[in-house]
């Protein structure tokens, strides 16, 4: 457990985290490995885990009938995967597939939500870390929508 705590707090998402909060979080965490092609989660499944990638590469995909899935984004070492565990109805909106051999921490979402609810200091700390990531991803998605490399004038 000590090793998991040390590794978990070594993840960039938890940089400079109060060790006392880390000790609380580690009770919800586990180590995970995904083979290339393996899904971390599938669309519409319960969003019951929050993933922090340690190594590898994960593609967020949207399945479209009759054509190859559309890759919306990729996430690698040091990044987090999944936000749907944060907001009701706690179901995934996309598929997340390991593109390469991937190691990650999984944090049980119900466990984490309960701890955030019980300890607002912890909850606020998590919000301060999650919100910049979510805003950054929203801005990146907007840039992708702009299709800036498309033909001028079309």
């Amino acid at each position: 457990m000590e090793t998991l705590e040390r590794l978990l707090l070594g993840h960039p998402f938890f940089t400079d985290l109060d060790p006392a909060i880390g000790r609380i979080l580690v009770g919800c965490a586990r180590n995970l490995r995904f083979a290339p092609g393996e899904f971390l989660f599938r669309e519409n499944e319960p969003a019951n885990e929050f993933f922090l990638v340690r190594e590898g590469n994960v593609a967020l995909e949207l399945h479209v009938p009759g054509r190859p899935p559309l890759v919306i984004g990729t996430l690698g070492a040091g990044e987090i995967v999944g936000a749907s565990w944060l907001v009701p109805p706690y179901r995934w909106n996309f598929d997340a597939r390991a593109v390469a051999a991937t190691r990650a921490f999984g944090i049980d979402a119900a466990c984490l939500r309960d701890k955030c609810e019980a300890d607002h200091h912890l909850g606020y700390e998590m919000m301060k870390r999650l919100l910049p990531v979510m805003v950054g991803r929203m801005q990146a998605a907007r840039q992708q929508l702009l299709d800036v490399y498309g033909h001028p004038g079309t």
Binding site: A59, V71, T74, A140, V148, Y149
Partner: protein, 279 residues
């Protein structure tokens, strides 16, 4: 910063297309040689005016190796009548050429620094001469990184060179695309998201950025957030260049003529203007 130009900068000289390489569905690279004399020297970041006889003239950046005195290389995307005619050229076609014109990437001044070369879409072409220069003189630089983004995998330029650069030990190359299907095993996302994927010392880094202006603005915001100073960021501007010598005013950008004072400009010089709709 201007290199030597043809005796009359307004008079197109005849150059022959020596070879054509298809880069993507609508982008080709042309090797050009003069009908008389030898190519004049150019600096990374400079451009020529290319003239399709009877159709018109467009500015096109030099995309070849500045150390190769045997030819000029231009990478052209067919988007209109003139660029379409130039992109349709075959070996033997004669085009009119003026220049080289404009300012250059500050590759000499960047020596001793880490260097980030950041390109979006066709913006890799004007940066390729700078990459050639930096790699030929890599011992003069700190860490070298190329960050490149395109619309999709099929729109990536210079596939073979990207693969070679990725195999080098003296540089990092990170590539992303806006959209892909699962057959693409690389990154999907926007160029600014690559900035934190490579190692550099923000206090001692020079960044060269070229691509669509929206991509430039978001990329510079990412560089600023990473701690790179505005005066260490250089961008290549695109405006409606016609005369290429600062006379006609079509490319005026506030107090600058992009053709003469740019196209490469220090970001701190133009930062306030980039966000202004009225310019």
């Amino acid at each position: 910063m201007n290199a030597s130009v043809a005796p009359d900068p307004m008079l197109p000289q005849p150059w022959r297309v020596q070879a054509v390489r298809r880069e993507t569905a609508d982008v080709v690279s042309l090797d050009l040689v003069p009908l008389a004399g030898a190519p004049m020297p150019f600096k990374p970041g400079q451009f020529n005016m290319l003239y399709a006889f009877g159709i018109g003239e467009v500015p096109v950046s030099l995309s070849g190796d500045p150390a190769d005195a045997s030819r000029f290389v231009h990478t052209v995307r067919a988007v209109g009548a003139v660029s379409g005619a130039i992109a349709a050229a075959t070996p033997g076609t004669v085009l009119g050429l003026r220049g080289p014109f404009g300012s250059a990437w500050p590759v000499a001044a960047a020596a001793g620094h880490d260097i980030l070369i950041i390109a979006g879409g066709l913006g890799l072409a004007p940066l390729r001469p700078a990459i050639y220069h930096v790699l030929a003189n890599s011992e003069r630089f700190g860490r070298i990184a190329v960050l490149y983004g395109s619309r999709g995998p099929a729109e990536l330029l210079f596939h073979d060179e990207l693969a070679r650069w990725r195999g080098r030990l003296d540089m990092e190359v990170e590539i992303t695309v806006d959209h892909a299907d699962p057959s693409w095993h690389g990154r999907v996302g926007v160029v600014p998201g690559l900035i934190d994927k490579v190692a550099f010392d923000p206090k001692n880094t020079v960044a060269l950025v070229c691509g669509p202006e929206v991509m430039i603005r978001f990329t510079v915001a990412g560089l600023r957030a990473a701690g790179v100073a505005d005066d260490h960021v250089h961008v290549s501007m695109e405006r409606n260049m016609k005369c290429a010598v600062g006379l006609c005013g079509h490319c005026q950008f506030g107090p600058d003529f992009v053709c003469k004072d740019g196209a490469v400009l220090a970001y701190d010089r133009i930062a306030a203007r980039l966000a202004a709709r009225e310019i």
